[in-house]
Symmetry: C3
Subunit: 341 residues, 3 copies
């Protein structure tokens, strides 16, 4: 063999190595549970099509048919994955009916699932203006999407062989974009009416992760045409020296911690301005002041604090707050702040 043949061969080997060193990531968020093997079946389809895929479970314990819960769970997690990840989300009571199967391409991930509102939070977040295009292409937690100062991303990586993956998967400038999946070439040959996750969404995700263009899979649709869930917005009202913010419980986690829709960004300025400790009201309970960690209070005592997602949270130390307070998703939560005269 001539030397230039070696050069080509070596270049080919290097390309394959690079691909293997960053295997494609596909995540799943469903209400399928672990009981029936539905999730394992989807992984079989993906690995048959794309043997080196890395499949990550976000949650399969979304309560049956609870689209909002799936949407919120996906939203909290996707920001911590590489922007090149493909996210399958299937809470799909309308499977086999008129609802459209879609793919949604954003700067921080590509999403596959039914057009029934499960992408509501992702879509809202990804449509927020990005102040800094450069940051916007980074993994979300490196500081991009949320405008957090990138105190880490700016310095040299601390070890020799490790640096955050910053691959922006798409060459488009106008993201997000959505497509209605209509091309059966990318599905399993036989499409059931009750398990599109296996027959349609899993193979589409495998094809996307292997580099197939979404344009070939379906028709572009406008973002406005996508189904979204009605999200309740926090209400701020002031009377004289006090300000009251009324929000809602949006999630109760495994520990019974009560997560609200009151964000850091809204409450922060109010709290800076306050003359006295804020009061959090939930059901019959009043909590005075905000803590910083669960261990701020004694065992069995309630504490309100900013949770890990930047949302106001109510917990009881070493106990289940939602059970103690008989709280349910959708319940109102009030934060009362007193201003200086």
């Amino acid at each position: 063999m001539a030397l230039n043949i070696y050069e080509n061969l070596l270049a080919g080997l290097q390309d394959r190595l690079e691909r293997l060193e960053r295997p494609p990531v596909i995540t799943m968020t469903t209400d399928f549970g672990q009981y029936d093997g539905y999730v394992g079946t989807m992984k079989g389809v993906i690995l048959t099509l794309l043997p080196d895929a890395v499949v990550v479970d976000i949650s399969h314990d979304v309560m049956p048919q609870q689209i909002h819960q799936g949407a919120f769970t996906l939203y909290r997690a996707y920001r911590y994955f590489p922007a090149s990840a493909i996210h399958i989300a299937v809470v799909d009571p309308g499977v086999g009916s008129e609802r459209r199967p879609i793919v949604l391409v954003t700067r921080h991930g590509t999403f596959v699932g039914p057009d029934n509102g499960i992408f509501t939070y992702v879509l809202t977040a990804e449509q927020m203006p990005a102040y800094n295009r450069d940051l916007a292409r980074r993994p979300a937690w490196a500081g991009g999407m949320w405008g957090v100062a990138p105190n880490w991303a700016g310095v040299a990586p601390p070890t020799g062989d490790l640096e955050p993956v910053e691959d922006a998967p798409m060459q488009y400038d106008d993201l997000p974009r959505a497509y209605h999946l209509v091309n059966p070439d990318y599905w399993l040959p036989s499409l059931s009416n009750t398990f599109h996750a296996r027959d349609l969404f899993a193979p589409v995700a495998a094809h996307l992760a292997s580099g197939a263009q979404p344009e070939r899979m379906g028709e572009a649709v406008s973002l406005d045409s996508l189904a979204t869930l009605p999200l309740s917005e926090p209400r701020v009202s002031g009377s004289g020296r006090g300000t009251t913010v009324v929000g809602q419980v949006v999630h109760i986690d495994r520990f019974g911690n009560i997560i609200t829709n009151l964000p850091d960004g809204l409450l922060g300025p109010l709290l800076d301005d306050a003359t006295a400790a804020p009061i959090v009201e939930i059901g019959d309970h009043r909590i005075f002041g905000l803590g910083t960690s669960y261990a701020d209070v004694r065992e069995g005592q309630p504490v309100a604090l900013m949770g890990s997602e930047g949302l106001l949270e109510v917990a009881v130390r070493n106990a289940n707050a939602a059970q103690r307070m008989k709280t349910r998703i959708g319940d109102p939560v009030r934060l009362i702040v007193n201003r200086p005269d």
Copy 2:
């Protein structure tokens, strides 16, 4: 170095790359739950022996000691994995007693577990005659095993770098074959009496996935000698102008959907012939006509349809049918069809 040394080195590198691009898949179906770390321990054994293995959970939530449920769960999932996959299935109340540990090699996968009936469905399916040898070597869902027209497998793959994996793992012609695992060289050095999944089945699966021949692991045994569960067959009876098919509930899934043992292949011709909508009877409930998706009926209403496995299924839209109808596994289900005079 001389050039032919490079050629050999390059060929070696290419072989290793090819192996990495299609890492060996090992699945697990057990009644171990996720609570105790038993499953994680098995994965530790596998990864210690075979570091590049891809281990996929099918289900660990089979109810304790329910061999039939494990057998059915495995059966529904394995057909969607590459034919080269190794499937560990352990619902094993007789662990440490006389029951034999076995490996079962089939055209569509290799199975490791106790000889207690957990492979009943797989064995039945794999012993069905394959009409087309070519199809029979494909992954099951590509159309092989079930005789579905391979509308996808026949065309060029839709993307440049992705095609279904069709590796038939074995060179044998007379599959399935079974072996009684008696060679402790392939087990952990110390065999407990209560956790063969860790000490025997996991290392055997790792060795199989790395290419070891089952002949070296144990003694060939006849398929007839394998333990099988008694499966109830649907009964068809006709009287005058009507036909009644009586089957059984074989599974109730996480959603409460009721899955029966009445297959598409049996019901299809009857339904084609019918003059009126069929009636499905289950417990005190009668459902008129078959739907095509869960969303065919109003919220809270029952619907009978062909499920994603080609089995008759009864569901209630956005609710738990089994709870509503007080249905249990083993309950009878009747499909009544009227024929033309």
Copy 3:
């Protein structure tokens, strides 16, 4: 290109291939459940930093805030992983408070988590003297740590391309060592007060798995300074011709099997000496003799035996022993042995 350039290129490719053939393993043991996506989020962080990591769940179903249960679950599993594995363990009711985040480096694995006692069992086991340094560097189950005769490790591996991974990750001689994690360069840029598993432990584990030295991540601390849980030791008392060993229930597994803290090593010599069958007392129940497998007794009957971890266990065949016997963790268990005159 000159030939020596090829040699260097080929050597580089081979290094990368070797790394890919033994991808870094990171395990997780937490009380996070699967419900909220917390675990998936941690995996996103790890895969963003270290795309070829293999992440294995040991258990996420540790009961909320039950540090002892997490410690025991981790202990039972870690011995079956490669010594190069990084183990994240987070049952962390004190998150965001004074408790230290630590890394613990041992001969059989590296551990990351809060300094709250979750490493109690690991630390105890790893501080036991190793009789044979050579064995001590092997994966635990190959016989090293527990002094089991390495009947497998001594012979040639049974297949051509598979042998146990015996990489000792560290060059230190004086292990275990511990470090207080204080260097935020190895954390996510923004540290929440309630989710250190995502913001601190996951990225630290990814950095460790990629080869970063723990010395750069924090300050060495003495093993004596680490928090440990008070473990109850079995008590042996003899009176005349009988010996009584009193222990405790330490774990109840998914099957309801009751696992005690009475080890093989303690009971073995007593049983060898006995003139009659031993008696196991638990609550109001007395079990005569030790069995060897669950199937030693009739359906529904209790059996005492040595479990897969070398600890005395009480089970009921095909039923839930803990429910039948109303047993709880911490309950006393007695083994009574009669000696010859």
